[in-house]
């Protein structure tokens, strides 16, 4: 524990005390766990018959199909959101004031509206006719695109000024500088944060239940509602299974971000790779307050943003 800012390496007394706390803490945590398990058992939630529903090929296919639907929406929304992000980011960095303003307003607006409402409005038909799939994908893409645009902007700002100046001095056009010099480095340094935001995109596909898109959570609800076993609705069971799938997918994506971050730290290109945004830093669904969002994710040392305070993001 000597690595903590809060405590010194414990001496003999503290060691004893910590050991006591450890025992008490373990007992408390285990106690809580056991109590929940006992309660569940009391209500008969561990009866084999209730879990047996997942042994049916029909139910498995059902979950599998729903998982595919979730992933499909995620892939489309993820890719589209990145496209949106590039467009919006270019708009924000534009030399033309109207373009810049329009981008700022667009980004700020859609980051302050709950995604649920955006998706609902798109589905009901605020702009043309959309199937549930497209309403979900476009809603996710707009919202996450706005967040990703800010992340990209932070990355662009983090590229040392000298590089840009040198490129202009060589006679490159603005497009060449942006596309050839700034963006590749911005993407590279911000990759962990971008991926963390993709985790949020993945989680938010579950909002599709509202507009009847048959994603994983929607199907889970139907299974729980429609497959009573001995008069018990298997909510505990489906939530456990589906929850494990979601957590597994999200953790897999997050660890990808962490891995990239670690790998990035080893290389020496002069630009720090953003913290894998221990997502509190890119709190995703969270996070609306304008520039802090991605800025915070920056690695302590240099706030790429115009906001020096936005530098909490230091993971471990």
């Amino acid at each position: 524990m000597s690595a903590s800012v809060l405590f010194d390496a414990p001496g003999p007394k503290a060691k004893v005390r910590n050991r006591i706390y450890s025992v008490v803490g373990t007992a408390a945590v285990l106690g809580l766990f056991v109590w929940v398990v006992l309660r569940l058992n009391e209500k008969g939630e561990f009866e084999g018959a209730l879990w047996d529903i997942f042994n049916y090929s029909g139910i498995r296919d059902n979950i599998f199909e729903a998982l595919l639907a979730t992933l499909k929406a995620f892939v489309f929304a993820g890719v589209l959101s990145l496209v949106f992000a590039v467009v919006l980011c270019v708009g924000r960095l534009s030399d033309h004031r109207p373009v810049r303003w329009a981008s700022v307003i667009f980004i700020d607006l859609f980051r302050s509206i709950p995604l649920l409402i955006t998706i609902f409005a798109l589905w009901v038909g605020i702009v043309g006719d959309m199937t549930p799939f497209w309403a979900l994908v476009v809603g996710l893409a707009i919202y996450n695109g706005c967040v990703q645009a800010e992340v990209l902007r932070a990355g662009v700002n983090a590229v040392p000024k000298g590089q840009r100046e040198a490129a202009y001095a060589l006679g490159l056009t603005k497009t060449q500088v942006t596309a050839g010099i700034l963006f590749p480095q911005a993407v590279r340094s911000m990759l962990p944060t971008i991926i963390s935001q993709l985790v949020v995109t993945l989680k938010d596909t579950s909002l599709g239940y509202l507009i009847l898109y048959p994603e994983l959570l929607y199907s889970a609800r139907l299974i729980a509602n429609n497959t009573p076993v001995n008069g018990t609705y298997p909510f505990v069971q489906t939530v456990t299974v589906v929850g494990a799938i979601y957590i597994g997918l999200c953790l897999a994506l997050s660890s990808l971000a962490t891995w990239i971050e670690k790998r990035g730290r080893r290389t020496k290109t002069g630009i720090a790779v953003a913290a894998a945004a221990e997502p509190a830093e890119a709190p995703g669904v969270l996070d609306a307050a304008a520039p802090e969002g991605p800025g915070r994710a920056e690695d302590g040392s240099k706030g790429p943003d115009d906001d020096p305070k936005g530098t909490v993001g230091k993971s471990n």
Binding site: D52, I53, F54, N55, Y56, S57, G58, I59, R60, D61, N62, I63, F64, L67, W123, V124, G125, D129, T131, P132, I211, L212, P214, S219, R221, L222, I223, A224, N225, N226, T227, P228, V229, N230, G231, T232, Y233, P234, F235, V241, A244, I245, I247, G248, L249, L251, A252, S254, S255, T258, N316
Partner: protein, 306 residues
């Protein structure tokens, strides 16, 4: 960090093992198997598909072109509109009505594309054209007629109350004052029971089946909606739930369709009428909601279109 990885690994393994084994496993339907809603009794029913059906309606023409009729249905109402989650097959009275209509429009049962539509989303789904027809315990009322058209009614239900078997206080709508009553967003019985006359505390969820689950959890004291739906749940949970009191509202069920499509509206109405006359309607009733204890009534007179 190490811990996080192992957690990730464990979860990923769990997820993978589940999905990897997606094929294989037991055949058939999981869960309780009450008589009726598993579709066995309705297997015997079939309707002659009209070969030369033609309706002067854009919705119909689109459906013909794609070779599929898209029908919105409920998925969580046993004996009325219920989807077995293992087989993905729909069954129930509304489903049979849908098949009858489809047959007369020239679509076989296989040519129906079912879509599950929750109560709160019905008007939007129909007026957007996400479904061609909406057949799912859909009460005809003036509020809804502003947005869509109906064909029917093909059945008369009435709001009633579903309670736990051991419930003693609630005997009808007059006795729900201060009790927690669950129903779904945008349903007509909910609007009624909220009125000062009855004075119930309401809980609004998005599916009736979730209301039923909440009642079994003792979260709410009663569920209110149409008697036909409630009878289905009572039959699905024998010995645990019962329907009490007399129906306290009239809920005429119709087929929802896009506003202004008079030709399709008439064609749908004609189809229902024809099947009522040739006895299919009664057979379907007896094979579905009849099993849950509802008594057969002669079909009501049509109001839409007159």
């Amino acid at each position: 960090m190490k811990l996080r990885k192992s957690v990730a690994l464990a979860a990923a393994v769990a997820a993978l093992s589940l999905t990897a084994t997606a094929c294989g496993g037991k055949e058939g339907s999981a869960g309780d198997k009450p008589k009726g809603p598993d579709g066995k009794d309705t297997k015997a029913l079939s309707y002659t598909v009209k070969k030369d059906a033609s309706v002067d309606s854009p919705v119909f023409k689109d459906a013909k072109k794609r070779g599929k009729l898209v029908i919105g249905a409920k998925a969580d109402q046993p004996y009325l509109g219920f989807q077995d989650q293992s087989t993905k097959e729909y069954s129930g009275f509304d489903i049979e009505i849908a098949k009858m209509i489809a047959a007369d429009l020239g679509f076989s049962a296989k040519q129906i594309e079912w879509k599950t539509v929750d109560s709160g989303a019905r008007e939007t789904t129909v007026s957007k054209g996400d479904v061609d027809l909406m057949i799912g315990t859909y009460t005809i009322n003036d509020e809804r007629k502003k947005q869509i058209d109906f064909a029917g009614p093909y059945y008369h239900a009435g709001a009633s109350l579903l309670v736990r078997k051991d419930e003693k206080d609630i005997k009808g709508p007059e006795t729900v004052r201060g009790k927690k009553v669950c129903s779904i967003v945008g349903s007509t019985p909910l609007q009624n029971i909220k009125k000062p006359k009855y004075g119930a505390k309401v809980t609004e969820l998005s599916k009736y089946s979730e209301c039923v689950a909440q009642m079994l959890n003792n979260q709410v004291d009663a569920v209110t909606t149409d008697d036909a739906i409630l009878m289905g749940y009572a039959a699905q949970n024998p010995g645990k739930l019962k329907v009490v009191g007399k129906p306290f509202s009239a809920e005429p069920y119709g087929v929802g369709l896009k506003k202004g499509d008079k030709a399709l509206q008439k064609a749908v109405a004609d189809a229902i009428k024809a099947h009522q006359e040739n006895g299919d309607y009664k057979k379907a009733f007896e094979a579905t909601i009849g099993k849950s204890g509802s008594e057969y009534k002669n079909p009501p007179a049509f109001t839409d279109p007159k």
